[in-house]
Symmetry: C2
């Protein structure tokens, strides 16, 4: 008799964004004339940078000829891409990351979801609240979460509340934890940690043998000098932090699928006997066993965004979205709503009107303004009373969304 | 203090194919003039079918324009591809598989590696011996394997010996197991189960509440009428079997990355309380949480292989490789070596000369004939005394390999 992994049954039935998509589809079916503006799921809308398009056409042609055909690539990614990553994302910033510490993948969602496989089932996890649902859900599946309480919190997960009072930045845990997921610039609040704030986390992690799983998927949006692009800008981070990166928002690769994870060679956890165990070879083993490398075409596309032309195009895209974020932030404020984030991030975190819950405001924005948003409570209990807006629509649609907000 | 997943430490340090690649690179470095012929890793060499190339160029262009841009796709895959799969791989053969039972992914390695996440850590696993290493290694990581004995066997895994005497076909287990991995046409032996043989497995699975994880990555090579392309050709299989498919060998997609998994809606395992639990929603939840869909470009390429033109091109590729397999099989026999498989499969399973182990013969073929093979023992203890040859090189190289074998 085959038994199921019992932890899968503990999970609520559906993933947040599938849930929303379903709700929106139902609404659209009932109101076929409604012209919805999507500010919900964090999906880009600008076409791919021209440099990536050209590179992917060349890559497809490579696969069309015997002499240039590429079959299985290295599970870790091609050196042409890894070298570009190391040079541009790290060495150019004076950061020490080696090519054998970079693991290219089909995206940060896979990597953040899978990385927990390397850790003991007993590890105590801390997450910011609200937070990207994958961190929590993947740990539920792994049996690390305990039971789900009526307050929406899992009994064995430590939640670090991010509230307006605290500038939406998590405090250090006041109880013992082993692993902390940090996302900065943050999804969903759009708030980024400064260098000093991140240093507190690194110092805490080093002092307490805590592993930081640092999700920097939105680093390309950072514009303030005091906000780090990488956790490795902080001294000591190589000894306590894994970093996840994504090309999804950086270069519009949400449908192309590419990301990477940095696992510094000096980064160690403990074996059951207390011995130090390096994580780099274990992640390598995981990827070699359960992953077969990202698409060659994808990797050539990603490589191209590191060319001067690609970098310029990416910068233009990000500036475009940041201008949208500003429109949303300022427009929401003019509409009498409290709005946060959206400065080093494509996300604006909107407080719902007094007495109106996340889902109620989501429904209201959908029905009365034709705006698709994401209910904050979907990201955790402390997200109640907020919705997330994304800056990934067009200028025109974003401007119209702001007008609709004003007339609400 | 962060503790590691102790099961990762139980694994031998490296994955078989990384190991071989390393050994071959070392040899090549020491003998730069040696002209190696690669019959080792199961990687294709023919360029992509023209239909897929054209479709992927169009897909790249789609991503280059706002009006046709595709961001995040459904985690389950695009309907255009799923519908083509359902129609061509199943309905055309009279098999009942629905679109909501098909999950497109970045490859069968990921899916076979990840599927175990859905099952209890206590499940007792059976594998053919020899076998594709991913089945065993991913279960070691999950803590299902017990300890590694000096004979190369894990204490909690049930091995089903595939020997020359039994035609390299596994017998039903004579002890209680919960899950059986079956691969047919088989990697590495190249032998395929007939319909009657597979029926015995399905009947056994139904009678004993055993879950069959059926890897059909090589079904495109099936040419004998009595060898099924899909486990669902057997009555009752929908109630006991998951099927994994791959475009890697079918259409040369090893570097493009696409596969799919079929999880029939009626397929159920047990909850801890004995209740039936359907697997389809759980695999859906797994994929929605830890995977973000296969590349749009990839999926358009895969769709194109189901066009009449694509189907013809794929058939030509497979025929080309099957002709190579025949060359190898017959050439090996002429060289006085026992060779098996290679009829409904790209793999030929070669018995080593009397008294010569797998790795010793691997080294001899490398040093004396410049042939890269795969030591059979890398696939399990019963693979000792064999090496695997693949038919994925060119006709010319394969013919030369056969000549080199003859003069060995």
């Amino acid at each position: 008799m085959v038994y199921v992994n019992p932890h899968f049954l503990e999970l609520p039935g559906s993933y947040l964004f599938s849930d929303i998509a379903h709700r929106v589809a139902q609404y659209q079916e009932a109101h076929p004339a409604a012209r919805l503006i999507r500010l919900g799921i964090g999906d880009v809308t600008l076409p791919l940078p021209a440099a990536a398009v050209a590179a992917m056409h060349r890559a497809v042609d490579d696969l069309a000829r015997s002499e240039t055909f590429h079959g299985y690539g290295p599970e870790q990614g091609y050196r042409f891409l890894i070298d570009a990553i190391v040079e541009h994302d790290f060495r150019r910033r004076g950061l020490d990351v080696g090519p054998d510490e970079v693991f290219v993948s089909d995206g940060a969602k896979s990597d953040t979801g899978n990385f927990g496989e390397l850790l003991s089932a007993d590890c105590r996890i801390a997450v910011a609240d609200p937070v990207y649902p994958v961190y929590v859900d993947s740990n539920v599946m792994a049996g690390r979460a305990g039971t789900l309480g009526p307050d929406g919190r899992w009994s064995r997960i430590v939640y670090l509340p991010c509230t307006a009072e605290g500038g939406f930045k998590p405090d250090l845990p006041d109880e013992r934890v082993d692993v902390v997921y940090l996302c900065s610039p943050n999804n969903p609040t759009g708030v980024a940690l400064t260098r000093d704030e991140l240093k507190r986390w690194v110092d805490y992690a080093l002092a307490n043998e805590v592993l930081l799983l640092f999700d920097a998927a939105y680093e390309a949006f950072v514009r303030h000098d005091d906000v780090p692009h990488s956790v490795y800008e902080i001294d000591g981070a190589r000894d306590c932090a894994v970093e996840f990166r994504s090309f999804s928002k950086t270069a519009g690769f949400t449908g192309v699928r590419c990301g990477y994870t940095v696992v510094p060679r000096c980064l160690k956890v403990r074996g059951a006997d207390g011995r130090h165990v390096a994580l780099t070879p274990l992640w390598n083993r995981r990827q070699c066993t359960k992953f077969n490398g990202a698409s060659y075409i994808t990797q050539r596309g990603a490589e191209a965004i590191y060319t001067p032309e690609g970098q310029r195009q990416v910068r233009e895209h990000i500036d475009y979205y940041l201008a949208n974020a500003r429109l949303l932030r300022e427009g929401a404020a003019r509409a009498g709503l409290e709005a946060y984030g959206g400065e080093d991030s494509p996300y604006v975190w909107l407080r719902t009107p007094e007495g109106c819950g996340s889902w109620a405001f989501f429904d209201r924005l959908l029905a009365d303004a034709g705006l698709v948003t994401t209910p904050g409570v979907g990201f955790g209990p402390c997200g109640e009373g907020y919705v997330r807006l994304t800056a990934f629509n067009t200028h025109e649609a974003t401007a119209e969304a702001v007008e609709r907000l004003a007339t609400l």
